[in-house]
Amino acid sequence: MDFRNSILPHRDRLYRLALSITMDAAEAEDVVQDTMLRAWERRAEWDSIDNMQAWLMQICKNIALDKRKRLDRQQPLTPDHHGTDAPHDNKESLDILNRLINKLPPPLDDLIRLRDIEGLSYREMAEQLKLTEDQVRVYLHRARQKVKEQYNQIQHYGL
């Protein structure tokens, strides 16, 4: 097992995950680099990992969420962020949706990303997250409903 063949091929999937959390291309690239360097430092563990992609995505997600928190502290999203309580442009709506997904508890957040960004089937999601397909259906439904409810609330009542 070597870096070039076992780790590097996951770069684009890691990048999309990082980008969906940070919503910033440069930050996302840094996250993928940090993820791969961390994986490289832990190369002694590679042989004992049964799902390399899931392992890498977990590392990537943690690093990206830390980065997102730092970004949020620098640019807090408050009701008076744009002088009004309700989001009124696509970029702001996207930012809010992204934060709502980031706040979902695992594995709800992972399910939304794996399905809606990576286009994985229920079976593939079940394998990656070690769930049954029925659980995937139930959790995905719950995840999307939560996003919809919270997003509707913000749309109607503001933050």
Binding site: A25, Q33, W40, S93, L94, N98, I117, G119, H141
Partner: protein, 162 residues
């Protein structure tokens, strides 16, 4: 006015977790259009973001950087400049110039050696003597070699480079 009932049903089924991958793709394509009816516009950022994110990827410069950082970088093809590419040509030109000058010098030496008084064919001993007794031509040959060295060291001095 267009009927958006199908799209509205798909959105409802999407949030209920009942859509197939193909149906979700239809939603993303629909929301990638510029003209979205007012009552559906609120969901555009979600599907548009999914559409854009699903196509995002890193390029080869990332690979080179991360492979260098992990010490797994393979030897990369060297970038060769125009002057580097032309170097063999300069060397060949220098060699030809050297050969011409040296050849002329040897020809000149041979011409001098053949001017024996009796104009007879030289014996082997005569040839050796002739070689030993032509200091001017030897100097000429040395000078030629010196010129060739200069030319080799400075390809820009070759006739081709001029």
């Amino acid at each position: 006015m267009m009927d958006y009932k199908y799209i509205e049903q798909l959105i409802d089924r999407y949030f209920d977790g009942e859509t197939t991958l193909e149906e979700e793709q239809i939603l993303r394509k629909f929301f990638a259009q510029e003209e979205i009816p007012e009552h559906l516009r609120q969901w555009q950022p979600l599907f548009l973001a999914e559409h854009k994110l699903s196509e995002a990827h890193l390029d080869a410069s990332f690979d080179n950087r991360i492979l260098a950082l992990t010490g797994e970088q393979h030897v990369q093809a060297r970038r060769i400049s125009l002057s580097m590419r032309m170097r063999p040509l300069f060397k060949a030109a220098a060699f030809i110039a050297f050969a011409i000058v040296f050849g002329t010098a040897v020809e000149h030496a041979a011409g001098t050696a053949s001017t024996y008084p009796d104009n007879t064919v030289m014996s082997e001993q005569d040839e050796l003597n002739a070689d030993e007794t032509t200091p001017i031509d030897i100097k000429s040959a040395e000078a030629t070699e010196g010129l060739a060295d200069t030319v080799l060291a400075n390809p820009t001095l070759t006739p081709l480079a001029q």
